[in-house]
């Protein structure tokens, strides 16, 4: 079954041990997601990327689950939506 295409804007935050891993490459290749990087800041021990993801809804969901399991933090672009 083909699920509908969606677009999502997220911010990925990488802990030190993942900085050198080809995370974004695998996201594109293994999950068939199209990415468009808008802004990024990568330092020696920490990094983040703001990007747009395009793909089938199910693929995006799987890709994001995989990112979280791998240890990448996935947030909406606006970070703290729930504010007290």
């Amino acid at each position: 079954m083909v699920s509908p295409m969606t677009r999502m804007r997220v911010r990925l935050t990488f802990p030190a041990h993942l900085i050198q891993e080809p995370i974004v490459y695998r996201l594109v290749k293994d999950f068939d997601i199209v990415i468009n990087i808008r802004r990024a800041d990568v330092k020696a021990d920490y990094g983040w990327i703001a990007l747009e993801l395009d793909g089938e809804e199910a693929a995006l969901a799987r890709g994001i689950r995989w990112l979280k399991e791998t240890g990448v933090q996935v947030d909406p672009i606006e970070h703290d939506v729930v504010i007290p």
Binding site: R38, R39, E78, D80, V81, I83, P84
Partner: protein, 419 residues
């Protein structure tokens, strides 16, 4: 007077017309309202401000509102109290409390931001406002939506305390309890904001909303007789308030309304159990490492603050610093303020008082310089924090002899404790 240029990206500087958008389409950076200060200079004067209402709307020319104020006509212009007793206790010369625990109508500084956002929502023709919140913001959005006859959707995590839920429900919004973690509520709300044509005050209306916080800063300067204080200690959650107070002071300076030099140092106050901004400041790094909140200061419990970076920049640019407060210190802070000044603040105020005490003790705030402590919420909203700590001192039968006895007991007890 044309006072607005529209919106401008804080990262890449791209300009956009004033619209309900919050991120730059190009770089996904946050956008901010851009004013024509050249047009405002000489038009916004001390006299023009003084002629305005005794509310935050006396600064309407410096807010992103173009039409009439729609809701919250009485928000702001809260007392700035010279706190002599607290100053004695802290061992410093000049301490002030900016007291938004009595901000109308929902008892926190959130009324300042929400009244701007809801007015702007009406200006843009929205009929529904929304927010995702765990407390003060929910109360304020629901109240202002009721006043403005707008529909409102308030999203909260389902496991929220009943007290906070009640102070929202009373205004008759649609309250949506989401079964999930904060993280999941976050994700959901940013998707909802994308999909529905609603004014999410802290998502697509964030650029307008956050400008309301500037009025807290304007008032401090005006109430000090158009002087900027030496230090301001600000409780931080998302990091917007501290950034906007600083912006307010700089704007007044730019408009030529401040006497003397502007040498205010902005200090951030956070709980130890959720202090990502203060951690940045102490480590002197612009890298924000998100945390999982664990503190009684729930109103400040944002582990991944949207304006964390800008809050850090604010302290750095102004030469300020930051302090963490433990849960115990937060309660001590609340009790200290109540005992010395008769002001009952919520946990966020406890954080600020506790942090101020540490900043003074460590010499960051010199004892002979003026300091303003930002009290931003009311204690009656968070009684949970104190219930286990306080109880009636004297319990007696309804007879005079019982009271005489109790009083004698109390006196001897006090004498023994050497108080």
């Amino acid at each position: 007077m044309e006072k607005l240029n529209g919106l401008r990206c804080r990262e890449c500087g791209r300009r956009y017309p004033a619209a309900p958008v919050h991120v730059c389409e190009f770089c996904f950076g946050p956008v901010e309202v851009d004013y024509r200060y050249d047009a405002l200079r000489g038009v916004v004067t001390r006299e023009s401000i003084a002629a305005g209402p005794k509310s935050m709307w006396r600064y309407k020319d410096l807010l992103p509102i173009e039409g009439d104020v729609a809701v919250g006509h009485h928000v702001g212009f809260t007392p700035l109290v010279r706190a002599h007793n607290l100053a004695d206790e802290l061992g410093c010369r000049e301490v002030w409390i900016k007291n938004d625990s009595v901000c109308h109508p929902s008892w926190s500084f959130k009324d300042r931001v929400v009244s701007v956002a809801v007015t702007k929502a009406r200006e843009f023709g929205f009929d529904t406002v929304a927010c995702a919140s765990t407390g003060n913001l929910a109360n304020s959005v629901a109240a202002h939506a009721a006043e403005g006859r707008l529909k409102s959707y308030i999203f909260i995590p389902a496991d929220l305390e009943q007290g906070k839920v009640l102070a929202t429900l009373v205004y008759n919004p649609t309250l949506v309890a989401v079964h999930g973690t904060y993280d999941e509520v976050n994700r959901l709300c940013s998707e909802i904001a994308d999909k529905y044509r609603w004014a999410f005050v802290n998502v697509n209306f964030r650029p307008y909303y956050s400008e309301g916080s500037k009025t807290y800063g304007y008032e401090i300067v005006e109430q000090l007789g158009w002087k900027a204080p030496g230090h301001i200690v600000v409780p931080c959650a998302g990091g917007s308030l501290i950034t906007k107070i600083w912006k307010a002071i700089k704007e007044l300076g730019q408009l030529g309304l401040v006497d003397g030099p502007i040498a205010t140092r902005m200090h951030a106050a956070q709980a130890l159990g959720c202090g990502p901004i203060v951690t940045m400041i102490k480590k002197d790094t612009d890298v924000l490492v998100p945390v999982k909140p664990s503190t009684i200061a729930k109103s400040l419990a944002i582990g991944n603050p949207a304006d964390g970076y800008y809050a850090y920049r604010t302290t750095k640019e102004s030469g300020g610093f930051g302090e963490h407060a433990t849960d115990e210190e937060i309660i001590e802070g609340m009790l200290l303020l109540a005992r010395t000044e008769g002001i009952f603040t919520e946990t966020a105020g406890g954080v600020t008082v506790a942090a101020t005490k540490k900043l003074i003790e460590t010499g960051v705030i010199p004892r002979d310089e003026s300091v303003v402590i930002c009290v931003t919420g009311n204690g009656l909203k968070t009684p949970d924090a104190l219930v286990d700590r306080l109880e009636a001192h004297v319990k007696i039968k309804p007879s005079l002899s019982a009271f005489d006895q109790a009083l004698a007991d109390l006196k001897s007890q006090t004498a023994q404790e050497g108080r």
